[in-house]
Symmetry: C2
Subunit: 474 residues, 2 copies
Amino acid sequence: MPAPPEFLKYVDDNANNFIQRLADAVAIPSISGDASRRQDVIKMANWLNNQLKAVGVTTELKDLGTEQIEGQTLPLPPAILGRIGEDKNKKTILVYGHFDVQPASKSDGWDTEPFTLVRDEATGRLVGRGSSDDKGPVLGWVNVLQWHYENKKELPVNLRCCFEGMEESGSEGLDELVGRESKPGGWFEGVDAVCISDNYWLNTRTPALTYGLRGLAYYKITVSGPARDLHSGVFGRTVYEPMTDLIAIMGKLVDSQGRILIPGVEDLVSIADEDEKKIYASLDYSISDIEESAGAPIALSSDKVEVLMGRMRYPSLSLHGIEGAFSGVGAKTVIPAKVSGKFSIRLVPPQTPKLVDPLVRQYIQDEFSKLKTKSKLEIEDLHGGKPWVADHNHWNFEAAKRATWEIYGKLPDLTREGGSIPVTLTFAESLGVNVLLLPMGRGDDGAHSTNEKLDKANYLQGTKLLGTYLYEVA
Amino acid sequence: MPAPPEFLKYVDDNANNFIQRLADAVAIPSISGDASRRQDVIKMANWLNNQLKAVGVTTELKDLGTEQIEGQTLPLPPAILGRIGEDKNKKTILVYGHFDVQPASKSDGWDTEPFTLVRDEATGRLVGRGSSDDKGPVLGWVNVLQWHYENKKELPVNLRCCFEGMEESGSEGLDELVGRESKPGGWFEGVDAVCISDNYWLNTRTPALTYGLRGLAYYKITVSGPARDLHSGVFGRTVYEPMTDLIAIMGKLVDSQGRILIPGVEDLVSIADEDEKKIYASLDYSISDIEESAGAPIALSSDKVEVLMGRMRYPSLSLHGIEGAFSGVGAKTVIPAKVSGKFSIRLVPPQTPKLVDPLVRQYIQDEFSKLKTKSKLEIEDLHGGKPWVADHNHWNFEAAKRATWEIYGKLPDLTREGGSIPVTLTFAESLGVNVLLLPMGRGDDGAHSTNEKLDKANYLQGTKLLGTYLYEVA
């Protein structure tokens, strides 16, 4: 069922109040990755907790313990769990968001002070750190609840909330919390579906629902030889050089066209059939979209479907850099003693870190043996995560499609993301229910970049969309 | 003719005075690469100038102008030119050395204060920055002249000196000075041969004469694509990645066994015949010497002659590192926008930077074309220098061989060095005469490293050797 027209009108009428709420949130520099800002993240938890209680949510601040960072013990910011409704005849929907943000300072290149929300009337942009990632979407839920609370309207579903303050720093402590609360008697018992608003449209024009994320297997391969760095004049062509061996191995992992050369890794992935290709063909996306965001005409193909599948449903391997070699400007004639190449593979189903790991190790060891070098090799996996794909025909998605149609007058792009949002998999696996990613912001919001923004239209229409989704899913 | 026995005895009798002279020199931290120490380099020039005048040398401090460093204009330390004797019936010998040093501080890992000469009676080592590189050898000449001056003995040759204070920083200003002074009417007019004492024995046991140095061609190859760094989740397998292309090219330059893969580069070099191999076979050197100095069993061959030829008479190619990629610790999922690989080729005759440059560029461009990438390639040569080989049967070398036999009771190793001493080529080309490298210190002196030392025995025997060389060359 559609949302009440009064609710939609209320959002428009209260635009200024809602923007002020976002400005208040942005003003708290809740940077989880900066130890000196930890108290601001905790302050932000308390502020949001008060906002939720003020619109009728029963909440609890969950202590997640401490972490060691830069030699000091820091309290983790609490997670906020909330609930409204216990009606056995209603569906129970869990919504997730986070109230911490990426670092930002004017010296990074921001045009305005990042922790002051700037309302650009000419462009309709609300500029400030966290506006789109993820304070705007979180407050979208608060805005929805405010109308129901003020007008004594019962929600069409039982609502559960989980808002955390460590998403930008590895969601420290969250996995355990979700595991505990998913058990009988926990806050998430009885949840029928999950909705996460923490990603972006594919472009700047068309709303999207996201049903897949790539996983990750991140490797560090270390090649070592001499006891210390050597002078290339004295030692060049007398000893095995670790850099020569490392570069040889790194050069055998992926080709310029992006094909992964590690035998078996690509074979795990199915070929897209015509039906699946149609999904990509239907997305509101062009080669110029990607070349515009990359800033250069460097797309791997002129076929939009190929490029989209490269991002969404094929694995990728990127070489990130080398630790221990000469990385400064100028010329230094060093033979580095120990060098570590960093690369990662973005995984798609049915690939998992566990499945590709033996293939990666075997191949690298085999290729290294062929070099007949006296250098030593070490292979480490630094971190990994499984990919995730949801059923986009599930009632949870169908509800979001109808809601999108009602608010935006168009069907959403059905997207898979090339990156990871690990908490998605945590909810999918702990609860065993469908998870929907329902983005509020646009593809050019610049979430982790300078001048992060949320368009005012997206904030307001997005608030309506979240509310309408609750009615459609009911 | 051998040196007078009185001179040899005088060196032993004055050991403590000579060591005190070295201690006084080491106490001046004349670090040419540190702008804040520039006045100390100038102070060192004045100190040395006074030492030379006190032993009868006619000197002149030559102003070399200024340099721009870290945004400030710094005066270059003056070079010291000196002369004794104008006898048309004597040979004229030019000696070169430098009075500046590499940076050093206790925090680098020195066991003692680097600018205080420490006399270790147990090992016989004189420990301090510059003891071996190159204050010890320079003062060796002063010690020689002191005996002649105090005893009113005429030198067997006309002597010319050139001591500079910028050797550790590219010998700024020296090429022009040598060029000017080599012309008629210049300080170096009439020079018959050059002797430079600024390198090391091959090992810790056997004196050496050095007759060859490798040249250098240093390259930076830059591959660029996107306008900014990209997120590998969002862009992996949608765009051409500069790192993939750069690593592919760097992987095609040299193999693990040290063979240069750029067509034509190795072909320029002749194959060693049996006679030449005998020179390497006769050197007092073993595989364990090189593995000990590298700190690991990583020699490219178990054949001593092969390993020595790899260092001395074959070219080498070393990969130094990458600028612009992720080089920190930890895991970062970046696709770097612009990356520059640094490598250099050590050259041997008849290779020159000019001869190998077109081969390097053509090969890299050809291999890059094969990648069929949309990334952009730029090739820059950062700096270069020609290799140098002298005739080791020249009377200049023969004199040094006899002098070595007289002082050490053995024939010297005839070595070529894998690195460069650019001033050698400057003298050889400007003056068109034979240049001899006559080292004072041992292979383990740690010239640019922590705990630099000169063995007391080398300082005293080396002083005798320099003096005896003047008599033998006369």
